[in-house]
Amino acid sequence: MSSITSAPTTNNTAMADFNRTTSRWGQITMIAGLLISVAGPLYLVFATGLDIGPAQLWIAFAAVAATFGIIWIVEPLTYYPILGPAAMYQAFMIGNISNKLLPAALIAQTNIGAKPGSKRAELAAVVAICGAAVVHLISLAIFVGLLGSWLISVIPPSVLLVTRLYVLPTVLGAVLVQAIVSMKQPRTTVFALLVSAVVVFVVLPLVPSLAMVSTAIAVLGTILLAWFFRGKSTIAEAKPIHIE
């Protein structure tokens, strides 16, 4: 692609080698991660004697796809210019991109004085994400795997029960505020809250069978309203879609 470079040929072959290696092994490791992560739940569903039909899985998948399908495609598109091809394979497997991996990459680039978009910056990002991955895996293994499992075994059942019952509204309350604040689109926010309120408090009590697709209805309704009543001063650039 880069035909206009003054750098000697050896530099080009070195970077080409880097691109080839990270692209091939990035794909291989990501496919492996994908298969292993889906194998766990499929084993539970089909090999442990639970009575679950394929239809239930398809319905659940469709319900999730109707809600997040757009994000599945948009997120990789908007992160690519920031991460570059190599780091894409790291970021979307390790997760927690916006709150952990991007800051790690940016700080590393600043600390070695790499110009954004340069080869140094690309390499620094990849190396920094490796460093972040090491810290992340260790802290997960210790604090969640060991400490967390021990914690679950010693906390009183009443606390565990409260946690199970009410952790969902606490996560969603905080995440909703996060989403609204990080998107900075007041008009869209008003539409989203209005549509959701109508769905949850009016439509669902009248037609309870729609519960399965309620989120999809709210998503579609919000997109349509936000699109048709978008402001004249439309946003000039597509920013990464993420929750802070």
């Binding site: 070195a14 880097f18 092994w25 990501m30 991660g33 992560s37 889906v38 539970l44 442990t48 899985l57 998948f61 319900a63 997040f68 994000i71 948009v74 997120e75 690519y80 497997m93 390790i94 997760g95 927690n96 952990k100 800051p103 590393a108 080869k119 390499l123 190396v127 490796c130 972040a132 991955a133 810290v135 895996l137 802290s139 997960l140 604090f143 400490l147 967390g148 679950i152 946690t163 199970r164 019952l165 009410y166 969902l168 606490t170 905080a174 995440v175 909703l176 505020v177 996060q178 604040v181 959701s196 309120a197 769905v199 949850v200 408090f201 399965m212 989120t215 919000t222 000039a236 650039e237």
Partner: protein, 249 residues
């Protein structure tokens, strides 16, 4: 000697003892597999970066500095993610939390996917309708969601590398409005769905939202970005504290 097999009860489908199947050894093996894959990938990428470094004017010291900067800056966020993960252990069990919330996905998307999947079976996470079968389907939904992100990355990255200009020139207004609308729409509907369940659900939701709002406001006003990282964890802990007090009252 030939009897015990027949005497063993079949796994009951309506059992709500989630942690009994959530800690299945096979799931732990899968978690170890995901950890292993990420370690292998990091080693390969590090080696490739080291080899390419001289051609990009990068010294061995630069590599070391980059690695250390990435590691140090990840300490805070990693601990913050761990706090959120611990809060979800009782709901999903350690293997699912480690592979979904800790790695690959994130709390927001995976908890939402689990909630949507449970809803598609007419059940709610955490209460009496949250059976082992519901957990299995919810875990499947979280995982397949994460798999779709990876699939999109696998398909789009080579395309973007070849001719990024074409794909990225999708109508910028649509790229700015549609995804944001989808996200806020999804989370506001999922959030409001919690409210009719009980007064304590309302309380947990409102307290947590208020704490998050305060964290984000203080983060901006005082320039303390760690408040942004820890916002979710702090909101969950205080929200659950409020719920615990309300249950006891």
């Amino acid at each position: 000697m030939h009897q015990p097999l027949a005497l063993q009860p079949l796994a009951p489908n309506d059992s709500t003892d989630i942690l009994a199947i959530a800690n299945n050894p096979v799931l732990w093996i899968c978690v170890a597999g995901v950890f292993g894959v990420i370690i292998i990938q990091s080693v390969i990428f590090m080696k490739a970066a080291r080899r390419a470094a001289p051609s990009a004017d990068m010294s061995a010291q630069d590599i070391k500095t980059s690695f250390r900067s990435g590691a140090v800056s990840a300490i805070g966020p990693s601990l913050a993610v761990s706090l959120v993960a611990i809060a979800l252990l009782g709901l999903f069990g350690a293997p699912a939390v480690l592979s979904r919330i800790g790695l690959i996905g994130s709390a927001a998307y995976d908890v939402s996917a689990a909630g949507i999947a449970a809803g598609s079976m007419g059940a709610k996470l955490g209460d009496a309708s949250y059976t082992q079968s519901v957990f299995a389907v919810a875990f499947f939904a979280m995982s397949i969601g994460g798999a779709m992100w990876m699939l999109a990355t696998l398909i789009l990255t080579p395309l973007l590398r070849k001719g990024d200009a074409k794909i990225r020139s999708v109508n910028p207004a649509a790229m700015a409005i549609v995804p944001a609308a989808a996200l806020i729409g999804a989370f506001s509907c999922l959030g409001l769905t919690e409210l009719p369940k009980s007064g304590i659900h309302v309380l947990s939701f409102v307290v947590s939202a208020a704490v998050m709002g305060t964290c984000l406001l203080l983060a901006k006003k005082l320039g303390k970005s760690w408040l942004r990282e820890w916002g979710l964890g702090i909101s969950i802990v205080i929200g659950l504290g409020a719920a615990y007090l309300a249950v006891g009252a």
